[in-house]
């Protein structure tokens, strides 16, 4: 039996096995946290950034003293203040 024929037989066996069995029914994923359940998440204490100006200042202080930048959600300002 050639390798190609072996593969074809194996594929046919696998397909008939899967096709013959009842496919498991996967439930459609629905949002599991409803809007009315998001009261705690909407509290200011949970915000990624509460005060843009203050957070931007901290970010600027770090940007001009550290080699790493980016992925913080803030726009840097050009400045040579070392």
């Amino acid at each position: 039996m050639t390798a190609g024929r072996t593969l074809a037989v194996a594929a046919a066996l696998a397909a008939s096995l899967l096709g013959g069995c009842a496919m498991p029914t996967f439930p459609t994923i629905q949002p599991w946290v409803k809007p009315y359940e998001r009261e705690r998440l909407a509290d200011p204490i949970m915000k990624l950034s509460r005060d843009a100006l203050a957070d931007k200042h901290f970010e600027h202080v770090r940007d001009v003293r550290e080699g790493a930048r980016g992925a913080t959600g803030f726009q840097g300002g050009g400045c040579g203040c070392n």
Binding site: L18, M46, H57, G78
Partner: protein, 372 residues
């Protein structure tokens, strides 16, 4: 033949399953609309002190929505810097200068998407930076997932005091992707990725490097590309308190690799007080061409300690107090924050005594914030 039919059947079932999953994810979008950012005003006094550098100034932000479709934000930021840093005292003279930054941005909401367009200009006597940015966020999956992407383009002009013939430029590009996911009724997480690219004059016209102990102008590559990825987890702890955990990894073509980790805790006290605290740790490896004192001639050489191997640890706290609240009309808060950070350099020596350099810095902010 039977095998072919069975294989086709299998593919159909898999496609139906994939379609169902995708439909579940995207089909619920459109059921609600994204909100414009709330109207807000902030007035801030900031101060930085550390390593011989003092910087302070005011900053203001005003945001107001128009026709419930567009929100305009204006910012003004001042940095009055007096610099007697280790670089300056060992190789130059202390100086003072002021930086002014103006920003204007517009947020536009369409269905579940928010589009933000921003312009910013920063001016100091020897450095001008102009920046434009575009960001889009889209809520999907019934508002449980927010996808964000954005782009920033900046163009800088670099000059030098007392040398009017010196005039160079630098360009910056930033591309970012983000995803915020509600995990449970109490926890949410975000993942942000950003690619950064710079070209042009990326050095300082004042800083010197040391080669065989002699001071020479630093020579820095004119291109740099970096990648940053940040993970953040925020959780409500159930007793009017919350915690956040953050980690960021950064690497670039100058061979800097940096890790940043932060843990924070926030808590309400009574009706009017909110306290935040955090601990932050940062560590990086040095750039390929960084040298405290080079012992061979190389194309590029720099003694910029920002590109050296170092770490820092910061401890911060913030207190917010509700000054006045009229439900449905406005809310006024007084805020104060403080951060203490300790820097330790591994291969940057203090030329005055030959010891490894280190310093501590303090950041203070006092500000009023109002939503209306």
């Amino acid at each position: 033949m039977a095998a072919t039919k069975a294989a086709i059947g299998l593919w159909r079932r898999l496609l139906a399953l994939f379609g169902g999953l995708l439909g579940g994810l995207l089909g619920v979008a459109g059921a609600r609309a994204a909100d414009l950012p709330e109207n807000k005003a902030e007035a801030l006094i900031h101060s930085y002190s550390g390593g011989g550098v003092n910087a302070y100034g005011p900053a203001f932000l005003v945001r107001k929505s128009i026709f419930d479709k567009v929100s305009l934000t204006g910012t003004y930021y001042v940095d009055a810097v007096s610099n007697a840093s280790i670089d300056v005292v060992t190789t130059a003279s202390p100086y003072k200068e002021t930086r002014h930054e103006f920003g204007l941005s517009a947020d536009y909401v369409y269905r579940d998407a928010q589009i933000t367009f921003g312009l910013m200009t920063s001016h100091e006597p020897d450095y001008v930076a102009n920046t434009g940015s575009l960001d889009v966020t889209q809520e999907v999956f019934g508002g449980m997932t927010t996808v964000a992407f954005g782009f920033t383009r900046a163009s800088d002009t670099v000059k030098k005091h007392n040398e009017p013939e010196f005039n160079d430029s630098a360009n910056h590009w930033q591309y970012r992707l983000g995803l915020t996911q509600i995990l449970t009724t109490r926890w949410l997480m975000s993942v942000n990725f950003e690619a950064l690219s710079d070209d042009g004059y990326l050095a300082s016209p004042y800083r010197v490097a040391r080669v065989f102990g002699a001071a020479v102008p630093e020579r820095t590559p004119r291109t740099r590309s970096g990648r940053a990825v940040k993970l953040r987890l925020v959780g409500d702890l159930g007793n009017r308190d919350a915690t956040h955990l953050e980690y960021r990894y950064f690497s670039d073509t100058w061979d800097i690799k940096a890790h940043t980790a932060e843990i924070g805790y926030s808590r309400y006290f009574g009706e009017n007080w909110l306290a935040d605290s955090f601990f932050r740790y940062y560590t990086q490896t040095g750039a390929l061409f960084y040298s405290d004192n080079a012992m061979s001639e190389t194309l590029y050489v720099s003694r910029n300690r920002q590109l050296s191997t170092f770490n820092n640890m910061g401890l911060g706290a913030k207190l917010s107090y509700n000054l006045r609240r009229v439900p449905g009309r406005y809310d006024l808060k007084l805020n104060g924050s403080y951060e203490y950070t300790r820097f330790k350099f591994k291969d940057f020596t203090d030329l005055r005594d030959g010891s490894l350099y280190g310093y501590a810095s303090s950041v203070i902010q006092v500000y009023l914030s109002a939503t209306y």
